[in-house]
Amino acid sequence: MQAVFWGVRGSYPVPGPETSRYGGNTSCVEIRTNAGERIIVDAGTGLVRLGEQLVQNGEQLGNFHLLLSHLHWDHIQGLPFFAPIYQQGTQVSLHALRSDVAKLPEVLRRVARHEFFPVSMDEWAARLDFHEVHAGRRFGASAFRVRPFRLNHPFGAMGYRIEADGTSCAYVCDTAPFFQVLHKKHFLRGPEPLSTADRRALQKLRSGLVEAIRGCDTVIYDTHYTPEEYERFPHFGHSTPDQALQVCAGQDVRCLVLFHHAPNHTDDQMDGIAEQYRALGAQLGMEVVTAREGMTLPVRGGT
């Protein structure tokens, strides 16, 4: 398997000279088997680039699976501009959290009403079908086995463990850490006091995540913030590289990928983060890679 990073940024796209090396497009990762089968995770603006590449190569996607972690704009904004959905013969199987599947058609109908995008969903040539995912309920998607698990993010988000070719890759995005804030279905102006039940829920989320990523060859993790930034915005639903390392350490994870970079992080800052955590990971026996747009990462199994 290999993972191709088409968009690595969180919140909103950031074009410009200060982000040109790590890339400015929002979240989209393509996972490929050695035989060339694909699964796409999240549909941020990076997805548009993937579509352009497919058109350039004269490739048809045919049937493909799209896993959505959640519906925040930075994870769906590329979909209406994804060239294959205007090609006859494309069939998209969309997988998302139950509440998101219920909401998706409404969001897409908004697209149809032209309020947010210039092209109506009625003009899409592709066929779409929607599938609910449930934590722990595995499913097959072409050559892949997928295991969804819950994350800690406003209104809920799903992570996915994806297996094929005898290797495994997990997508853990977007998520807050599991000790200070429990995200539910209301707006947080700041951290709220945790009840005993909240603490239990956080523990359950964390142990579900740890169990899902155990023995994973590659883990792609929401490391939006530096620790200093996290201190200021603990209630925004994102983690730090340190928290990702803590979750993955001791779980037989071979490679941790830092992902969903904050939009204000310049390339120079990202260089510093990349080097700092590469070294820290090496001490823990883990390869730490910082995602860059356009990067193709082989997902290597154990020896």
Partner: protein, 273 residues
């Protein structure tokens, strides 16, 4: 009156080397009158940078006022509102003006819907937010005389804006299609005798989605400028396939056939009227 473009791209932001000279952020243009009072046209991703800059002024202490004119409700004109920092400072006042068949309020509610936006609701912004459906008569806000008209656009959300201050006229037509036949009266009225007309200019590859819909091509911009006797034409809201090289070629072609000054808006550039 002067203006500064913070984002010039249409449809979606375009990071990448082939867009680096003119910038990849979506629509946002800061306008200032002689007294220094600000106005914003559109809240695409370019507005994030403007928001940060405004925090160094009255907006940083909650004493800022900003009229925001939306030429469209699409994400490339509205999507950065949840990331516009002055909106999170109590005391600031932002007045949004735009048009949508369901009403601007409902569109903004959908933009901030908790499933798609972590802010959950536009009511969670700390600044005072005014939401006004397109007024039918000209109005004044922050030292600007403003008139808006619905203009032809596939989605019924396109608005042309005419902004006057210090005896100068600035016209914005960045969400408009021109059907075959004579130019719409509304379009000509917005641009009439303008000192500067900012007009959409897309680039279309045959077969791509934007060949179906997505705004006027550049030569139509010139027709509007001539028809309305505008004094200068500034292109903006380029299609995402319009690389810097294509854009410069487009401007060259227009200059070859135009008696009017024609320019291409560029991120960070200031224009004095």
């Amino acid at each position: 009156m002067k203006l500064r473009f913070w984002g010039v791209r249409g449809f979606y932001p375009t990071p990448g080397a082939e867009f680096a000279r003119y910038g990849g952020n979506t629509a946002a243009c800061e306008v200032r009158n002689a007294a220094g009072q600000p106005l914003l046209v559109d809240v695409g991703t370019g507005a994030v940078g403007l928001g940060r800059a405004l925090m160094g002024e009255a907006f940083g202490r909650g004493a800022g006022q900003l009229p925001i004119l939306l030429t469209d409700t699409h994400l490339d004109h509205t999507g950065a509102l949840p990331f516009f920092i002055p909106a999170f400072v109590p005391g600031n006042r932002l007045d949004l003006y735009g048009a949508a068949p369901v009403g601007l309020r409902r569109v903004l509610d959908a933009l901030f819907d908790p499933h798609v936006c972590p802010i959950n609701s536009i009511d969670n912004l700390s600044a005072t937010i005014g939401i006004r459906d397109l007024p039918s008569t000209p109005f004044e806000n922050n030292g600007f005389q403003i008139a808006g008209r619905r203009v032809p656009h596939g989605n019924d959300t396109g608005v042309g804006w005419r902004i006057e201050a210090d005896g100068k006229v600035l016209a914005f037509l960045t969400a408009v299609d021109h059907p075959d036949g004579p130019l719409a009266e509304s379009v000509l009225a917005i641009a009439r005798d303008a000192d500067l007309l900012v007009h959409i200019a897309t680039w279309r590859d045959p077969g791509e989605w934007s060949s179906r819909r997505g705004g006027a091509v550049a030569h139509k911009a010139l027709a509007v400028a001539h028809g309305a006797k505008a004094k200068r034409l500034c292109l903006s809201h380029y299609g995402p396939r319009c690389t810097d090289d294509r854009l410069e070629e487009m401007v060259r072609r227009l200059r070859d056939v135009s008696s009017l000054p024609v320019m291409a808006s560029r991120e960070g550039e200031e224009i004095e009227l």
